[in-house]
């Protein structure tokens, strides 16, 4: 990992502005991701856009976009909470699809269930209008040490 992205992330944390993490990642822009602190919680939102649709008949979001949102939220949570900036690398991601994702904004929040020296486990939930009825959940296992 070169210094560029690490510097951007460190600066985002100093400024208390998680959106700067996302602005540094081209794919986050492609998905339309936005990050916001709500109290203690870092909430990542995927703003609805027509190019996110996987089933135009329903219509429903593409499962891949929900997976990408969940993975991104897990990584942003790790970056935001970590004391030192190391870019986490996803080792495995397991997504459960619970409900059809409608053509509206989708929010996600990750919770670190264990942060070891080398590996961190993160549980993530994504929801739309009703947080109590998630559209998808995931657990991510990430490598969090420098290579």
């Amino acid at each position: 990992m070169s210094q560029g992205l690490v510097d951007v992330f460190a600066e985002a944390k100093r400024a208390g502005d998680p959106q700067r993490l996302l602005d540094a990642v081209p794919y986050s822009k492609f998905l339309g991701l936005h990050a916001e602190l709500q109290g203690d919680e870092l909430i990542t939102t995927m703003r609805y856009a027509s190019h996110l649709i996987g089933n135009p008949a329903l219509p429903a979001l593409h499962g891949g976009t929900l997976g990408a949102l969940l993975e991104s939220a897990a990584i942003f949570e790790l970056l935001w909470r970590a004391e030192t900036v190391v870019l986490p690398k996803t080792i495995t991601l397991t997504v459960d699809y619970l409900r059809s994702g409608g053509p509206v904004d989708t929010h996600a929040r990750g919770v670190v269930t264990r942060h070891g020296r080398r590996v961190a486990n993160v549980r993530v939930e994504a929801w739309q209008a009703d947080r109590a009825a998630p559209v998808a959940t995931a657990h991510a296992i990430c490598l969090v040490m420098r290579d």
């Binding site: 081209p26 649709i53 996987g54 329903l58 979001l61 990408a68 997504v95 994702g101």
Partner: protein
């Protein structure tokens, strides 16, 4: 491009907005297998320092290819929905290179289909990611409360 390939390209990519946005090319669909190509695109980069594609783009590729493999294993056109997808990231994609995915639907039961898939550049033995998925079969349009996969 053969007539079949044109038809599958329309079904699995051109008519699915997100696959179309990713410029996914449908290479083969048949006999419980599918092969897609994801062209390299700077908009899909996760780490701009390295120019490496984001895992999310690989997830969309594997989900779409796996769904197509399920359709290719079914005797008749049935709506499907991804139940779960597990992805192992084996190594970073090389900057600037297209990513291919091959998916196999290796088991179909009355309600559920099971898939395996792999994402790679030119050698499946040196894969970027591998996945296993399960898909619900015969979901009603919107009625089952689950997302439908590809068309």
């Amino acid at each position: 491009m053969t007539a079949d390939r044109e038809r599958f390209q329309r079904w699995f990519s051109d008519s699915i907005p997100h696959n179309h946005a990713l410029a996914i090319e449908v290479l083969e669909v048949g006999k419980g297998e599918a092969r897609f190509r994801l062209p390299y695109d700077a908009r899909l980069v996760g780490n701009p320092d390295l120019g490496v594609l984001h895992g999310g783009a690989i997830t969309s590729l594997l989900d779409g290819t796996s769904g197509a493999a399920v359709f290719a294993a079914l005797a008749q056109l049935t709506p499907i929905a991804t139940l779960d997808l597990r992805i192992d990231y084996l190594r970073p994609a090389d900057p600037g290179r297209d990513v291919f995915a091959r998916a196999t639907c290796y088991k179909v039961t009355r309600n559920v289909a099971f898939t395996r898939a792999v994402a790679y550049h030119d050698d499946e033995a040196d894969a970027i990611a591998s996945s296993v998925g399960t898909f619900m079969l015969g979901t009603k349009r919107g009625g089952a409360g689950r997302p439908e996969g590809t068309p």
